[in-house]
Amino acid sequence: MLDLLKTPVLALQDFCVLCGRALRNIVRRPHYFDDIFLQMDIIGFGSLPIVILTGFFSGAVIGLQMTRALQTYGATGQIGPIVAVTLVRELGPVLSSLLIAGRNASGMASEIGSMKVTEQIDAMRALGTDPIQKLITPRVIATTVTLPMLTIIADFVGLVGGFIVAYYLLNLTAGQYWTPAYQILEWNDIAQGLLKPFVFALVISLVGCFYGIRTTGGTQGVGRATTQAVVVASVWIFILNLFITRIFVNV
C-alpha cells in the first residue's frame, strides 16, 4: 500500500520542486528573452486560428441552444447576457485552455522529452546552462502571458458568434444584443474570466514541461510523456475550474 503511494508522492514532490525553480527563475538572471518571444509566437500567435474558430462556434452554438429555452418564456432578448456570461465565466477560459493543453502541453512535453532522450538536456547542463531557466521558465512566462489574451479573443469572437445567431435567427438588432450583453458583465465575471486562464496557463506549461523533462526510455518514452502531459493538464484544468468557480460564486 505504501509502495503504491510512493511513486505519485515522489512525482508530486518533484513537480513542486520544478515549479519552485521555474517560478524563482522568473526574477533571476540570465533571462532568455529570445526564447520567451519565440514561445509567445508559437503558443499565442500559433493558436490564434484554432482559438478563434472554437470561440466563434461555441458562441453561436450557445446562442442556438438557448433560443429554445428562451422562446418558451418569450425572453429571446436575453440571449446576449446569457452568451456573455457563459462565455466569459466558463467556456472562454476552459475551452481555450483545453485547446492550448492539447496543442502546447503536448508540444512542450515532446520537444523537451526528445531533448532529454537525445542527451541535449545533459549537454546543456554540461555546457553551463540551466535547462529550467533556458527551456521551462520561458514557456511558463509565454503561456501565462498569452493564454489570458487568447481567452479574451475567444470571448469576443464567441459573442460575435452569438450575435450572428441572434441577428439572423431571432431578428434582434445589434443594440438589443450588445447592450444587455455588455451591461450584465460585472467585475466578478471579468476577474474569474481572467484568473482562470492565468492559473490554467501555469498548469499547462508546468505539467507539459514536467513530463518532458522526466522523459525516460527513448522515443517511446517521448510519446508516453506527451500523452500523459495532455491528460494530466486537462484533468487539472477541470478540477481547478471547479475550485476557482466556487471562490467566485457565493451560494
Partner: protein, 279 residues
C-alpha cells in the same frame, strides 16, 4: 612540473549511484592524474555512461565523493558546478547536439556561455575564428550553416568533438565516440582523440566497446608534420600513461595497463581484449 603532472584531474572515491530500479555504480574508486588517458570498457548497461555523467555532476551519487581538479563536487549546487564543468569537454553517447541550432551555433554555444560567465572580455570576431578552428580540427569547416539533422552520424559525432574541444578544456570525456560507426569513420574519430591528446595535452577518459580504440590510444601518436598517426616510440610515455578500466554491472572489475589487461585471466575481463592488429 613533474609534481603537478601527477595531480589527479578526476577522482572517484567509493562512489555509489542508484536509480529507482538499479544500482548503476557500486563503490567505484579510481583516480586519473593529469596527462593520463583512461580507456573504459564494459558491457552494455554496466554503468559507463553513468560514470561519465557522475563525473560531470549531472548525476548525484548516493554515497561517496567525486573530485574534479581536486575539488569535491559532491555537494555543489548546479550554479556552483558551472565553473568546474567549463573546464571539461564532453562528447555524449547520443551526441547531445542541439537540433534547433546550426553547426556554427552549436560549436559557439560553450564559448558564448563562458563569455557570459566571464563578463564579456572576448570580442565577437575572435569567436568565429575559434569556432572555425575547432571545426577545422575535425575537418568539417564547410558545415557551418547546416543543422545537425543534415549531417551523417559520424559527422555529428565529429561536431560533438569540436563543440567539446572549442574551449580548450584540460579534461575530455568521450562516451562511446566510435560506437555504431563504420571502421574508417571510427578510426578517424579515434585519431582525433589522439590528436587532441598530443597537440593540446588533454587528459582523456574514453568509453568504448572496441579494443582497437584502446590499442590505438596506447600505442600511437599524432605526428604534427605529416598530420597522421604513427606508432609511438618506446619511452615516449604514451603507453605508460594509458590505463584501461573494465566495468561490470556497476563495479570497477579491472584497472591496469594494456599488458595487465592482456594477461588477465578473469573470464569477463578477457572478453574485452580483442585483436590488436585490426586497424
Amino acid at each position: 612540473m613533474a609534481e603537478r603532472a601527477s595531480e589527479s584531474v578526476l577522482r572517484f572515491e567509493q562512489v555509489t549511484v542508484c536509480f529507482p530500479d538499479v544500482v548503476a555504480l557500486k563503490d567505484v574508486s579510481f583516480s586519473v592524474p593529469a596527462g593520463e588517458t583512461r580507456i573504459v570498457f564494459g558491457a552494455a548497461g554496466s554503468g559507463k555512461s553513468v560514470m561519465v555523467k557522475t563525473a560531470l555532476g549531472l548525476v548525484k551519487p548516493e554515497s561517496g565523493h567525486v573530485f574534479l581538479f581536486q575539488q569535491d563536487i559532491t555537494g555543489l549546487s548546479e550554479q556552483e558546478l558551472f565553473p568546474t564543468r567549463a573546464k571539461i569537454g564532453v562528447l555524449f553517447q547520443e551526441g547531445g547536439l542541439f537540433d534547433s541550432l546550426t553547426i556554427q551555433e552549436n560549436v559557439e554555444y560553450p564559448l558564448l556561455n563562458q563569455i557570459k560567465a566571464a563578463a564579456a572580455h572576448e570580442r565577437n570576431g575572435n569567436l568565429e575564428t575559434r569556432v572555425r578552428e575547432a571545426l577545422r580540427f575535425v575537418e568539417l569547416e564547410h558545415t557551418l550553416e547546416k543543422f545537425p539533422s543534415e549531417l551523417s552520424g559520424g559527422m555529428r559525432r565529429r561536431v560533438g568533438i569540436a563543440r567539446a574541444m572549442v574551449t580548450d578544456p584540460p579534461l575530455m570525456l568521450y562516451d562511446s565516440p566510435s560506437a555504431g560507426l563504420d571502421p574508417i569513420t571510427a578510426n578517424t574519430i579515434m585519431a582525433l582523440a589522439v590528436k587532441a591528446r598530443d597537440t593540446r595535452n588533454t587528459t582523456s577518459v574514453i568509453v568504448t566497446h572496441r579494443y582497437q580504440d584502446g590499442h590505438l590510444m596506447a600505442n600511437f601518436r599524432y605526428n604534427p608534420e605529416s598530420g597522421a598517426l604513427e606508432p609511438a616510440r618506446r619511452g615516449s610515455g604514451i603507453h605508460e600513461r594509458t590505463v584501461f578500466m573494465v566495468f561490470g554491472e556497476g563495479s570497477l572489475v579491472f584497472e591496469g595497463t594494456q599488458e595487465e589487461l592482456e594477461a588477465s585471466t578473469d573470464a569477463y575481463v578477457s572478453k574485452f581484449k580483442g585483436i590488436k592488429e585490426l586497424r
